[in-house]
């Protein structure tokens, strides 16, 4: 089942859900559930998806959704996995879904614990780079220079976006990957790869948020594409914390950082100094990634 394939029956998400128009998070979950198939259980922590999934007696997904408190996602996932095992559901894929807050900030301890225990489930972080459900407050996933409602003009987010992938790699989890909504084929590939791996798997999905980022709702895909092209959000995977592979290279010639930021009102007040600082950060991190990939390539050739 390819997610680009047109088949209503295989869509796991019902139309009529509560996401805002152009929601990247809705797309991300649409893709991931379709890629993973029907035999999944979704553990859902506090995030926009707590709302998108609907108010019982309604539901937006064709699979069990277990809501849980904000910091608990990583641990509830462990329990669900082990509980299902105890009841003989070894084939069921457990997916823990959290936003950037539930992953980078309040959920980090549980995430780290589960990753370290190598719990057998897929942790998916859909990252819209701030607390969007509560109305755009700074999280540690908010990029440097962005304006938020807890860093209103003339303030801006100080400090860099936390590099969650390096943190997960440092846990030497069997599989970790980044993905974004403009590249559903790549996203699908990674989720299907993840589904076959045993142990802890981490997928970091950049999910643009039109109201929070101040983009046009129609620009969700475009802005996601530019995030990749500019090297701001590289698409790659890492196995066992050491085996790095770039899946969609940046295309710096075709896209500039100011073009990417220009689509987003949260960067409206970005001056050149800050732009350069952010560019420097991106270049440094992208180069580090390239080095990590090159090291792997060199080792395999030996």
């Amino acid at each position: 089942m390819k997610i680009a394939e047109i088949n209503r029956q295989d869509e796991m998400i019902y139309p009529g859900h509560n996401a805002c128009p152009g929601c990247g998070a809705a797309l991300a979950v649409r893709y991931l559930t379709k890629a993973l198939g029907k035999n999944i259980v979704l553990v859902l922590t506090a995030s926009c998806w707590s709302i998108i999934s609907g108010m019982p007696p309604l539901t937006a997904l064709k699979c069990p959704i277990l809501h849980c408190p904000f910091p608990s996602a990583g641990s509830v996932g462990s329990g669900v996995r082990r509980g299902l095992n105890a009841r003989g559901h070894h084939d069921t894929t457990v997916v823990v879904l959290a936003g950037d807050g539930g992953t980078f900030d309040i959920g980090l301890q549980a995430l780290s614990g589960a990753a370290q225990r190598n719990e057998d489930y897929i942790f998916v972080c859909y990252d819209n780079e701030a607390y969007m459900n509560t109305g755009m407050q700074t999280s540690s996933a908010t990029p440097f220079g962005a304006r938020t409602n807890t860093a209103p003009y003339p303030l801006y987010k100080e400090g860099e976006k936390k590099d969650i992938m390096q943190i997960m790699a440092a846990h030497t989890v069997p599989y970790a990957a980044t993905a974004t909504v403009a590249f559903p084929a790549d996203l699908e590939e990674k989720l299907k790869t993840a589904q076959k791996v045993k142990g802890f798997r981490f997928i970091h999905i950049l999910a643009p948020c039109p109201p929070g980022w101040g983009t046009e709702s129609s620009d969700t895909i475009e802005v996601s594409r530019l995030a990749v092209a500019t090297g701001f959000f590289p698409l790659y995977e890492v196995r066992n914390g050491t085996n790095w592979k770039l899946t969609v290279p940046a295309d710096i010639k075709s896209a500039s950082l100011s073009q990417y930021l220009g689509l987003q009102r949260r960067f409206k007040e970005m001056d050149d100094r800050r732009l350069n600082e952010l560019q420097h950060e991106i270049n440094r991190d992208y180069q580090r990634l390239l080095d990590q990939v090159a090291k792997v390539t060199a080792e395999t050739q030996q």
Partner: protein
């Protein structure tokens, strides 16, 4: 799933009803719509053919559907697939990516499919109106086709023994195999068109008399009178005009050209003549003389290139001054150098030379015979079209004229507006306007046959070609595929506009107004 006592309240804690009871389309204040825009191929097409649409049908292996779309504008894709100079292809946006689509090859494949898979139309309500079509060239045949499909009874008159007009007589076999025309004519006969050959208007038929038997008459007799050069020696033996030469060749009349032939002219008939002359027994060398430069040559460039490849010598910027003869036999053609400047053709007679040859083919164009109109009684309606009206033009243009004539005739009896095939509003979709980035997510299906593979390469340019990007990128699963076509489900569409923005073919727009 939940036990008592929790059962009664379980529904509040565990939702199992699909959220689709929420009609989130109510949130919408802008609405995406599919809107076809003009593609460069379609703009280039002399028939305004819906090129991207039938390419799409072929891509999906739906040949019947492709033929149906094709036949809106062109009932003879096999013919045009061979003889059209495909201006569509020259405009193709894909050229800027890698290489343009070989549109004519796909068109030809649709035509061949039609010829092979033709089945007589299901009973069409006959209208008891009888129509006479004079001339069995592409205009006449096209008119006959469309009228027959609309239930009219059509009789086609042809003055020669051969049906097809220019298709039969003017176009050499190497460009249009005889079997194609033969099969098209068979199909028309099966559809109920009556053909009468060896019947010439004026001598065998009197125009006014036709109205006794027919309700309307469509005159499509073409342009067959060769334009004369007035050069000295033009009336000698072994000086031919191109049409006579081609039709004789096509009907198997033996023509002795000698070993060396000069063709004068720069149109398609000149190229056809030169390439045909090469195929005549005994001819070793063919030279084509044209008064202007290569760039100014009206003939189709691919045909010119084919002629060159076959060994035709092209001499540009030369204007014949006289045809040299000796004892009534052609010896050569004397030419002056000539070139175009802003006032017209400048001729320099100081550097003239003589090109020796055994025969000359004059391809200076044809004129229509308007004398027939004079025989028409006053107040009588007459429909006319094709080369007869436009002057020498191309096969697709004649087919279009026949189609328009059929519509005009129908409008006499039916509540029917004569219109060109819908010409799409707005600018032609440029290569830059396309959104090809989204396509990385689509997996190319491996198609078995070449035409399908080729059709798959079509970028769509303003036409929905069912690529599915709108479906893929819809956060609300609000794009449905109904009978192969994509439609926005307005019950759930929140109007985000991603489908419009991401449509690779740019075949969607946002319209104001919500639910």
């Amino acid at each position: 799933m939940l036990q008592a006592p929790f059962k009664e309240t379980a529904a509040y804690a565990c939702g199992t009803t699909a959220i689709s009871v929420n009609k989130t389309g109510e949130w919408r204040f802008l609405t995406p719509e599919r809107q076809f825009r003009q593609s460069p191929c379609r703009q280039g097409c002399l028939l305004q053919g819906e090129v991207p649409s039938w390419l799409d049908a072929v891509k999906r292996g739906r040949w019947e559907e492709a033929w149906q779309i094709m036949s809106h504008n062109n009932p003879f894709p096999a013919l045009t697939g061979y003889v059209c100079f495909n201006p569509c292809q020259e405009n193709c946006n894909r050229d800027q990516l890698d290489q343009g689509i070989a549109i004519r090859e796909v068109e030809k494949a649709i035509g061949e499919w039609r010829l092979k898979n033709y089945e007589p139309s299901k009973a069409i309500m006959k209208k008891k109106r009888r129509i006479a079509v004079i001339g069995s060239g592409p205009a006449g045949l096209s008119c006959a086709y469309y009228l027959t499909q609309a239930g009219y009874m059509v009789t086609v008159y042809e003055r020669s023994a051969q049906l097809g007009g220019m298709l039969a007589l003017g176009i050499p076999e190497y460009r249009l195999p005889h079997r194609i025309l033969k099969r098209e004519l068979e199909i028309l006969s099966s559809e109920g068109v009556v053909f009468k050959t060896n019947t010439s208007l004026g001598s065998d038929l009197v125009l006014n008399d036709l109205y006794q038997e027919y309700d309307q008459v469509f005159l499509a007799t073409g342009a067959w009178i060769p334009r004369m050069s007035g050069l000295p020696g033009e009336d000698s033996d072994h000086v031919y005009n191109a049409l006579d030469f081609l039709s004789n060749y096509n009907t198997g009349v033996l023509q002795k050209l000698g070993s060396s032939v000069v063709v004068v002219g720069g149109g398609n008939a000149a190229i056809d003549s030169a390439r045909t002359a090469l195929r005549v027994n005994g001819v070793h060398h063919v030279t084509l003389l044209y008064r202007r430069s290569r760039l100014e040559m009206p003939a189709d460039q691919s045909e010119v290139e084919a002629a060159e490849r076959e060994g035709v010598e092209l001499i540009f910027n030369v204007l014949p001054r006289s045809i040299e003869t000796k004892g009534g036999r052609v010896k050569g053609v004397t030419v002056d150098h000539s070139r175009t400047d802003r006032y017209g053709l400048l001729v320099d007679s100081s550097t003239s030379f003589c090109r020796e040859c055994d025969s000359v083919i004059m391809a200076l164009g044809q004129l229509a015979d308007y004398s027939l109109f004079g025989t028409l009684a006053s107040k009588q309606t007459l429909f006319a079209g094709g080369d007869l009206i436009s002057g020498p033009a191309t096969v697709p243009e004649a087919i279009r004229a026949g189609r328009l004539a059929a519509m005009a005739i129908r409008s006499v009896y039916e509540d029917f507006e004569v219109c060109e095939q819908e010409i799409l509003a707005g600018e032609v979709v440029s290569f830059e306007a396309l959104n090809l980035a989204a396509k990385v997510n689509l997996e190319l299906q491996q198609k078995e046959a070449e035409p399908q593979r080729e059709a798959e390469r079509c970028l769509g340019c303003g036409t929905c070609n069912s690529c599915g990007i709108c479906y893929l990128f819809c956060p609300d699963v609000a794009v449905d595929q109904v009978d192969g076509k994509f439609e926005v489900n307005l019950d759930y569409c929140k109007g985000c506009g991603i489908c419009v923005k991401e449509c690779p073919a740019q075949a969607m727009v946002m319209k104001g107004g919500g639910r």
